[in-house]
Point group: C2
């Protein structure tokens, strides 16, 4: 690989001059030599060695990003996949690269710690945070730059970008109400998930805003699994008296909604006619389900861009934007799984 010395020799100047030209210290190099240096650079095909540059400037130009958990076959995490792509692209645009790494789920800290202590990365992007996230706690404590996709303990002050799950579900429930639904059910996760709670809030707030009661018997909580959808619908249809059944169901994730669809098939209930259904994520294949699933799509592209924007603010120590937090609304995608309530 050619070095700056080779260029200097070829151009008949010193390496300092070459460096000036390459870094556009244009004020102190004559037009003549500048042209000559560029000619030499072109001829030799020189590009500066990143490692040497990094050593000199005590930076790595690398942003660390870890998966939140091991993907399993058949599991849906297309969300993070898409996010990672947009993150990588935005990072490159800002002159960085993404270093992707993994960690044992029980104990992320040592991995983050090593990457910091060896100066491997300049910053981190973390995703899938929860209220009491140890990574946030650790990075704040170390005062190491990071931006999060997802919120955490509201008392912690750190830059984050997140999808406004509250607004999304609120919008979806509004749409259901608009269609004439009054008895709308919610299938949520247990209350330890911050993301889940925000989404649930959207349901509560929309109901209240419309003057509808928040009926606890219409709220089902379970794991983020297909099974939860089965359980919930079976409960609504076999335990509750017909007149108390919901005419619409808001599932907090597509995976749960899929369970509802499958249970409906078994119960002889037709989704999109007997009961409306809406999910969250726009997971792969949901558009091809029977019926196609109405859902909320996260603006992952924009999130990646915003995360990197916040990170650049942080790293360049430019006075931070007034808002270190960005809440982006998901996009409501109406599909055939929702319709007006049955008329009888």
């Amino acid at each position: 690989m050619p070095t700056i010395k080779d260029v200097a020799k070829e151009a008949g100047v010193s390496i300092a001059t070459v460096s000036y030209v390459l870094n556009n210290k244009t004020n102190s190099v004559s037009e003549e030599t500048r042209i000559e240096v560029w000619r030499a650079v072109e001829k030799i095909g020189y590009m500066p060695n990143v490692t040497a540059r990094n050593l000199r400037s005590s930076r790595s130009r690398l942003i660390g990003y870890a998966w939140h958990e091991r993907p399993r076959n058949g599991y849906m995490n297309a969300v993070l996949d898409h996010f990672t792509y947009s993150l990588a692209q935005a990072a490159e645009h800002a002159g960085y690269h993404l270093l992707t790494f993994t960690y044992p789920h029980q104990d992320p800290i040592p991995v983050y710690d090593e990457l910091i202590r060896t100066s491997r990365v300049d910053a981190f992007v973390i995703a899938s945070t929860n209220e009491d996230d140890p990574r946030v706690r650790y990075l704040l404590d170390k005062a190491f730059p990071f931006v999060s996709f997802g919120r955490a303990n509201p008392e912690w002050d750190f830059p984050w970008v997140d999808v406004d799950g509250e607004a999304g579900v609120h919008q979806a429930v509004d749409a259901l109400i608009e269609l004439g639904h009054r008895r709308i059910a919610l299938i949520a996760w247990d209350q330890h998930s911050l993301t889940g709670n925000f989404r649930s809030d959207g349901y509560m707030n929309a109901m209240r805003a419309a003057g509808l009661p928040v009926d606890e018997t219409l709220i089902w909580r379970g794991e983020n699994q297909e099974q939860s959808g089965h359980d919930a619908l079976r409960h609504f249809w076999t335990v509750m008296p017909p007149e108390q059944r919901p005419t619409a169901i808001c599932a907090i994730s597509d995976l749960i909604a899929v369970g509802v669809i499958n249970e409906a098939e078994q119960l002889g209930v037709t989704i999109g006619r007997d009961v409306s259904l809406i999910g969250f994520d726009n997971a792969p294949l949901t558009q091809y389900l029977h019926p196609p699933l109405a859902t909320l799509e996260q603006p992952l592209e924009a999130i990646g861009v915003q995360v990197i924007a916040l990170l650049c603010d942080l790293l360049n120590k430019t006075p931070l934007d007034d808002q270190r937090h960005r809440l982006l609304p998901p996009r409501f995608i109406p599909r055939a799984s929702i319709a007006a309530p049955p008329t009888d």
Copy 2:
């Protein structure tokens, strides 16, 4: 961040001695000083600066890996997501990290070129190759280390790992034959996809091996889209005379199989009773389709491990394993979409 000098000062030795101890040049350091150095290291919390190490050794300990294409919302590429994870993990195990990057689909070469010329990475992993892949051509030409997940032009000599699509589909078709099927259809991609051709070969070979005719009227070719499944089934069911219809369909991807399922619904055909169906990939949600889709699962975990193993061989210049190619069989997952042919 503490440096080797700080440790040397703390331990009362020279930086060379510290370096010896840290790199286990144990033959030339007394037990005494070694202990003293480690004590200092612990006390100060020192870890060697990776950039400086890399500069000194002219390596980056980074492996470049790019997505083959921009993921879209609702699109299935969980396959590569899972692969990336196992790749990252295997790389870390070997003392490397994954640098993930993106490139404009039309012209990958400049991006690869820059990463090489700036010494940003030590090697590449490429995925989703095709017969005449420009990346393979370029990297071979540059003699830059890389391993591929996926084959290419058989005349090019380079290390790769791949899923044995032929064996997978062969096994699936065998299973169908075992169930009693004789008229088995294939829905394939156009013939420009190497991967697609291997999978198609599996179908042909299985049919021939069983002494069954390869009937061109039972082979449908289309894009890797849900629509192709629709088109194929409609063709089989509305254009062909009933007695010529297939009793089983082998789709080359889950996405196409989903189209078949949906078209079947419209035609009043019951998958898993009137006709059997099998896909490829074990994409997210396919297990929850109605009926659950029989499919072939790629051993992505093992592929990641093998790719890194080959790469380490390459980078350490140890005499290469006799086999620079690894062909791993997918796992057949029978589900309710297949059954014995209707007895009418």
